[in-house]
Amino acid sequence: MPIDILMPALSPTMEEGNLSKWLKNEGDAVAPGDVIAEIETDKATMEVEAVDEGTLGKILIAAGTEGVKVNTPIAVLLEEGESAGDIGSSKASGSQSASGEAAASPVASVDNDDKATVSSAGDAGEKARRSTDEPSSQADNTKVPAAPKVDVAADPDVPAGTEMVSTTVREALRDAMAEEMRRDKDVFVMGEEVAEYQGAYKITQGLLQEFGAQRVVDTPITEHGFAGVGVGAAMSGLKPIVEFMTFNFAMQAIDQIVNSAAKTLYMSGGQMGAPIVFRGPNGAAARVGAQHSQDYAAWYSHIPGLKVVQPYTAADAKGLLKAAIRDPNPVIFLENEILYGQSFDVPKLDDFVLPIGKARIHKQGKDVTIVSAGIGMTYAVKAELELREMGIDAEIIDLRTIRPLDFDTILASVKKTNRLVTIEEGFPQNSVGDHIASQVMQRAFDYLDAPVITVCGKDVPMPYAANLEKLALPTVADVVEAVKAVTYRA
């Protein structure tokens, strides 16, 4: 039977790519290892190598097609003795037109993957997590934020009638840095691979070309070293943006961040502070193991002297990063690799700056308050849809800032709904949710109709294996269960 050549996933987080060029034509012989096509992702250009031997029978996706989902059949390979007439027997050709002009939706192979994963996990709720991080889940409706069915409350910081532009979180972060660098020549960015390579996650795309190598600085590989250089530069009056390839590597720099950046203003009697932004992806992505998957929101939020921002939407990423760069204090800006490629509406304003320390009511409701931030919001949004079907009207609060925490918004909501569930991917002990629960208990005890439930990751280092990784993270089902418990619907 002819073999389908599928759009490959070049990394665990890749969801789609552009088929830029075919290097083999229909009818060409192909050997394993031959480069047959070039594809572009948002990170890099890669070559597609043939795995099997045969003849390229039919090209299903034309060169130049953008947004081809992973696992879409892109061509059909004929094995020895087969001819073009056999193509109808391949899996792909039965389900799509021969023209191949549009990216086909993933077919049989993807469904098989899904079944295998779900049955091994033994939990239907796992499906939700998969849709946020696995390329193979494209059949699911993952575009929740881009086409919100929930009633997102209007952001009071955006004037009514403002034109909105669909923007990825990645672009929003880049735009925020570029705008601030244009506005203030003291702002500069440094980190590993930020200049020539345009950022390990392509967040600093185009900055080197616009601002030059003196303001977009590739550093040696030493988080400890360049965080210290950044703190020193901030103390001399510059406003550094220090990019960590991931916050997991920033553990190496924790002494500079906590003992110097956070404390020097206090220790010098107000003479010297560090206006600096430490930013980069935080938390789990997919298949990157124990040392690359930790959520540090709770860690940094413990430290007086630091501000901690953890945005979910592209608009918040932009408005809050601009605010962070202008802030005279050190700001920890926690991004998330999975959110980088997601699109949201961003207001088209010349200078869109949001207040640090102010939560946003993502969706209004009356029966229960769900509080989260960053990637945690994806669970809240999905759970809310399920809860609505059960007749539970949930209010979702996106914290946006972890320190200082906006207790006013949380308490006002809890006094209305009398129930609270928090969500985060971090470890359970001393979590952000623990702190919120303890404060709500102290400040609104008489309003609570049920104990607060904090939904967190499991208390184990993140395993690498896909089935274990899913189990280690919270799920939408966990959130639904928690809401049912606090509303006594179980």
Partner: protein, 409 residues
Amino acid sequence: MTEFAPLSLHVPTRPSPQDNATIDTSRLSPAGAVRRPAVDVDPTEIHDLAYKLVRVLDENGEAQGEWAAALEPDVLRKGLRDMMKTRAYDQRMMRLQRQGLTSFYMQCTGEEAVACAFQSVLEKGDMNFPTYRQQGLLIAQDWPVVDMVNQILSNSADRIKGRQLPVMYSAKEAGFFSISGNLGTQYIQAVGWAMASAIRNDTRVAAAWIGDGSTAESDFHAALVFASVYRPPVILNVVNNQWAISSPQSIAGGERTTFAARAHGYNIPSLRVDGNDYLAVKAVSEWAVERARRNLGPTLIEWVTYRVAPHSTSDDPSKYRAKDASAAWPLGDPITRLKTHLIARGEWSEERSVQLEAELDQEIAAAAQEARGFGTLHDGPKQSPATMFEDVYKDMPRHLREQRQKLGY
């Protein structure tokens, strides 16, 4: 008062895509030109060796100079086989990644001589603290390939229970410490391990491994301080393969000096060696390990080599260097060079090479097939969720047992 022009920042220039050989050719010594000092030499007497290059094999494949040892043909054929097997393994694992059977892989193409020859001078009980590009340490000691593939596939037979990224092997028995995903952290741990060996009056030695880029990590400098103060039996390996993802070695501090020269301030003897020359790697490794075993203390070795492959399966080197960049590398390919030497000695032939390559490909393919029987990243048997809660603490605390039970395991 003197008038000064405004200041400007020096940023190291990058090699152009046309001229990718980042090596300073003024520091390429001819084969056989560098002397072999006594193992108990005063470090200050060999400072010049940090700016030269120990080489044994010349352009014609002949062994030259004081570092050339009389080695049995069987020893060299084993070395050739180890390097070819490492390359065959890399090629097969790359294919598994492209087939989607694993998520990630890292090759060591062009750097095989460094790990394979170094391992050949170690003894059982010695401990390597490797980076992710020293798979040759396992292969050169004939460690079962299927065990390595099980880790790559994160399957039910994976000895580290699906907890680590592919290539982050861990095999205590093989003297192969768990690879750290965070760069440089293990350099200082290797020094500590060697100090412990000396404290216990043991005979074992440790080998620390780091890349040119990661020498910028503070762990590297801290390691040299401790190695200098306590003189533990440790070999401080710096594999200078010219690239840290897209950053050339000049960004890591190799623009106007060498990584070997960093040892001078710590009074640690250091050598700079042709890492693509199996005979040179083996001879210098023997010298350094003998120093360690004689309790003469640490040695720093800069292995000058070239990362022919992309950094990883997630990297695209065409963004920052020419496609044929490795062809401009003046030190050649380690496999070709040892092969040429063996042929020149009448101990090998092109035909035997072709035959061995096919044999090794078969051997690796069979091991990969066997490993697939234990499952892959996506299909087949997997680690039980029950294992997820193990090993967090030596004895499982109650709250973890409860979490496990809640999951139904």
